[in-house]
């Protein structure tokens, strides 16, 4: 490097990004006022889940894949069971089994979003290094987070058998369906959680938001019957409208040198974003009236393109998930049998559902006995890596004048806007900004 170039080089380094799931690093290189390179470097070791599924019985996939993540095990179970049922010619798109699936998924959204909104993301906006320090000055926020998280856990435990890595989900439905009376016990905590969620939307709306706007292609499921969670076609704001079976035809996963997670991109158009912002922009009209009203009161219209405002969107989705869960409980009729029979056949099946942090796609090839021959799992964070890098590039470009330490913090916040789950994608982020 020449002396002149070296004098224009600015290097900012954070060894690990806190308050994300998993281990990764960020590298930003600046030359003068030009952002030369941005890399989200995921060095979480590969976990080989797709390989260890090969040779296992197709009935084992929900329990094996749920172990990929302690924050979103239901997402893994639901994408797995839908893919397996798809391979066997079955679609459980309505009825009490589907209702129970959506209910336990709402529990996971409540648990995951409340953890992120109150304990992981809020300290960024309030200027604390972590939630413990924040809780000393803002105990109510931490209490609300814990109360909300507990409500979600309660749903997971009642429907799933336990709150982490639930054991009651199976291909075809559940091992045991809860009674109406059991579900009624969830009403009071969910009503309280819904009230807290509404207050959270109002609180989040008052936070200071850096100016940012990004225009990645937004991709989410489209459920004609409601806000996308557990089923639907895959749609985007740029005309994509495909069945989950066509995911492979439109999305390509590529190895890159700087990440142990594969990078997903649209074959035709490149990077895209899944998750709360995508769902909100694509399915605003499917939010319940309460959630829509809360969003409007918070100053959000049917579109929201500022990733920093994802904290408001997550709060709106908390209202949605609580309300949705209460509606399911109110209309619940116990199924005659907790699961439908699923007979294996030689086939390929696809499943896509909405994990709290974005769309999760599974594909399984099984033989006539139901043994898994091949498995493909595309987690939301793999899909979002390119969009996160693009976001980061914009944030750095808009904040070149900030001192290194402040620039580093806003970069970390920009990453946490997307609640990345690096464990899923392959766990801390090492952030380096090099200025030339």
């Amino acid at each position: 490097m020449s002396d002149e170039r070296a004098s224009r080089t600015r290097t900012i380094r954070t060894d690990y990004l806190a308050r994300v799931e998993g281990e990764g690093a960020m590298y930003v290189e600046l030359e003068g006022d030009e952002v030369r390179d941005v890399k989200l470097r995921i060095y979480e070791p590969p976990r080989f889940f797709e390989a260890l599924l090969r040779g296992r019985a197709f009935t084992e996939a929900p329990d094996i894949t749920s172990r990929i993540c302690g924050i979103c095990p239901i997402a893994y179970q639901m994408s797995a069971v839908r893919a397996r049922e798809d391979a066997c010619g079955i679609a459980i798109d309505s009825g009490p089994i589907r209702d129970l699936r959506r209910l336990i998924y709402c529990g996971e959204w409540i648990e995951s979003h409340s953890l992120h909104v109150y304990l992981l993301h809020a300290p960024d906006f309030l200027g604390y290094p972590g939630f413990v320090e924040m809780a000393r000055d803002h105990p109510l926020i931490a209490q609300q987070g814990l109360q909300m998280k507990k409500a979600g856990n309660t749903v997971m435990t009642l429907v799933g058998g336990r709150e982490i890595h639930p054991v009651n989900v199976r291909v075809g439905g559940f091992y045991r369906a809860p009674s109406r009376r059991e579900l009624r016990t969830l009403v009071e905590p969910l009503e309280r959680a819904r009230d807290t969620a509404l207050a959270t939307v109002r609180w989040a709306a008052e936070l200071p938001f850096p100016d940012a706007r990004n225009e990645p292609e937004l991709v989410a499921l489209d459920d004609p019957g409601g806000y996308p969670i557990d089923l639907g076609r895959i749609v985007s704001d740029r005309g994509l409208d495909i069945a989950p079976a066509d995911f492979d035809s439109h999305v390509v996963e590529e190895q890159v040198e700087h990440s142990n997670a594969l990078h997903a991109r649209m074959r035709a158009r490149g990077s895209y974003l899944t998750g709360p912002l995508a769902r909100y922009n694509l399915a605003f009209e499917h939010l319940c009236e309460l959630a829509q009203a809360a969003a409007r009161e918070a100053g959000l219209g049917p579109t929201c393109r500022n990733p920093f405002q994802s904290i408001i969107v997550r709060a709106v989705e908390l209202v949605q998930a609580c309300d949705d869960a209460l509606g399911i409980i109110s209309g619940y009729e116990e199924p005659d049998r907790p699961a439908v029979e699923v007979t294996p056949r030689r086939a390929v099946g696809h499943g896509a559902t909405e994990a709290p942090r974005g769309m999760l796609y599974h594909r399984y090839e099984i033989d006539a006995e139901g043994t898994i021959l091949a498995a493909t799992i595309v987690p939301p964070t793999s899909q979002n890596q390119l969009a996160i890098e693009a976001d980061l590039r914009g944030v750095v470009q808009r904040n070149l004048g900030l001192p290194d330490e402040e620039l580093k913090l806003i970069c970390e916040q920009a990453i946490r806007n997307h609640d990345p789950c690096i464990s899923c994608a392959t766990h801390f982020l090492d952030l380096t900004v090099q200025r030339a």
């Binding site: 954070t14 806190a18 799931e21 972590g130 105990p139």
Partner: protein, 163 residues
Amino acid sequence: MSGRSRSVVVIGVGNAFRGDDAVGIEVARRLADLGRQPRIEVRVHEDEGLGLLELWDGADAVVLVDCARSGAAPGTLQRIDATSRAAPLPPRRARGHAVGVAEAIELSRALETLPRAVIAYGVEGACFEAGAELSEAVAGAVALASDAVRREALALVCAPQPG
């Protein structure tokens, strides 16, 4: 002495599948009989740390036992009284999604839900490989740690209520 015994919860913390990280769980298993004493509860906690707040909610005292990594010789037993002294938080950079024991204690302290006595025992670990058994040094320390936790819990349950 007030004559009223305190409620004490003993919590073995760890991961049964990660070598020496299972030592807290092993100690709790050995103390199962202790949980049959009035006003003493013995629990195992394998999940992330936030769940600890619920486990000690309402208890007068908590005794935690977990694997430690302080640089001491493997199998070394350490006792930390976190009742009034802040538990050392991990450095900012080392905090992921998963919440650790120290963060759970300090969060509970901030929310004024921490039991009146908080004692943590740490057994220095050496091996954290997936699927590994306890290392020889740590397996050899289980009896000592179990005895120490038992004495601590019995002393706490018999101790006079402050105030």
